[in-house]
Symmetry: C2
């Protein structure tokens, strides 16, 4: 297994994962070749073979991979069997949706709690998860070794919250505020831009983008 794979390979792993999970139970219990996966997804089969070999040792010539084993290997590689604590800053509709969404657990993430500065929200529970005072965020994260934060605050306070997360020891930030955040030292920020995703989908995909990602 190679942890130093390219960003391109990494970006395709979820595509393979999604494809394999979408197979019927019968197919999941059988073998599948890199060529078959490449064909189904419209990808180059040499590339697919290389990608799969970098996360799984289960490939056999002329047979391919046991589909369920390959799924397990990708899942382990992507850390879906972890229990990584995650906090969410900003309890507007989007932040509440994050706390209510139970799908994170399948990917090895535990959404621990939300933070907000509103006195009306602090102390409440959303989907069984407490909403805490954002002033206590740093202490809470340090005590609990939280390394992952999601930002759903308004754009005007997003960079300040990002900086506060960095000081609290958070290393990975997923930012939904519609502003490009600058990552403090030692922190990796992914700026999620839903408008741009929509623009790429609706205005570019009829040309040469694949229909599924």
């Amino acid at each position: 297994m190679n942890k130093h794979m390219t960003a391109q390979t990494l970006s395709r792993l979820p595509i393979y994962y999604n494809y394999l999970t979408s197979l019927s139970d019968e197919k999941k219990n059988g073998n599948i070749s890199a060529t078959a996966i490449a064909e189904a997804l419209g990808l180059n089969d040499v590339q697919v073979r290389k990608d799969l070999a970098s996360v799984s040792r289960g490939g056999r010539p002329k047979v391919g991979y046991a589909a369920s084993e390959l799924l397990g290997d990708i899942s382990r590689f992507l850390g879906f069997e972890n229990h990584d604590g995650v906090i969410v800053a900003g309890m507007g509709n989007l932040g509440r949706a994050m706390l209510e969404f139970n799908g994170f657990a399948d990917y090895g993430f535990d959404i621990i709690c939300g933070f907000d500065r509103s006195k009306e929200l602090v102390g409440r529970e959303i989907n069984g998860k407490p909403v805490r005072d954002i002033a206590d965020m740093a202490g809470f994260c340090k005590e609990n070794g939280i390394k992952i934060g999601i930002i759903t605050v308004p754009e005007t306070s997003a960079q300040a919250v990002c900086n506060a997360m960095a000081e609290a020891g958070i290393e990975y930030i997923l930012n939904f505020a519609a502003v490009h955040l600058t990552a403090p030292k030692g922190v990796t920020v992914h700026n999620e831009n839903i408008s741009l995703t929509l623009a790429m989908l609706a205005r570019c995909s009829s040309n040469s983008m694949s229909s599924e990602q």
Copy 2:
């Protein structure tokens, strides 16, 4: 200008756009070279030069691009000056967040209304946008020529809503339900998977992914 660019070029255009918008006003009023952009973003400069040439004719040897002009060219290419109507199906927290989010307008999208089946929600307004009965979705979309839909319903009903959108003439669907939807004929679906984005960020970015996308 070349509308038949590769998916890779397309995926980089938002990165250039984000970078250019993040420049100071002074720099925005000046010139910027492909090489400088490549350096700032850690990309290959030959690639950046090709990418930019495919959307803008403003590049001059030894001078580069007028930054504001390049920004305008990318913006027009990505359709940010359009007024494309968008509907949102599912008025849970995530769907309401979509209606409340005003950032879509900057990218040329008008969020027209939401749809839900709950009698308590239908007839209400969220951020000045009406919530309509999902049973009326097809008629509404056909009458108003809506081509873009966002799905924020629970996973159990997501494929049915996707199919209904296709019948209503919707051509592009952004799906937030945690289930991989199969695109009906003539429809392009982008399955947004926030858990996977988080997994890529928190478990793969320390290897070889770039820190910003």
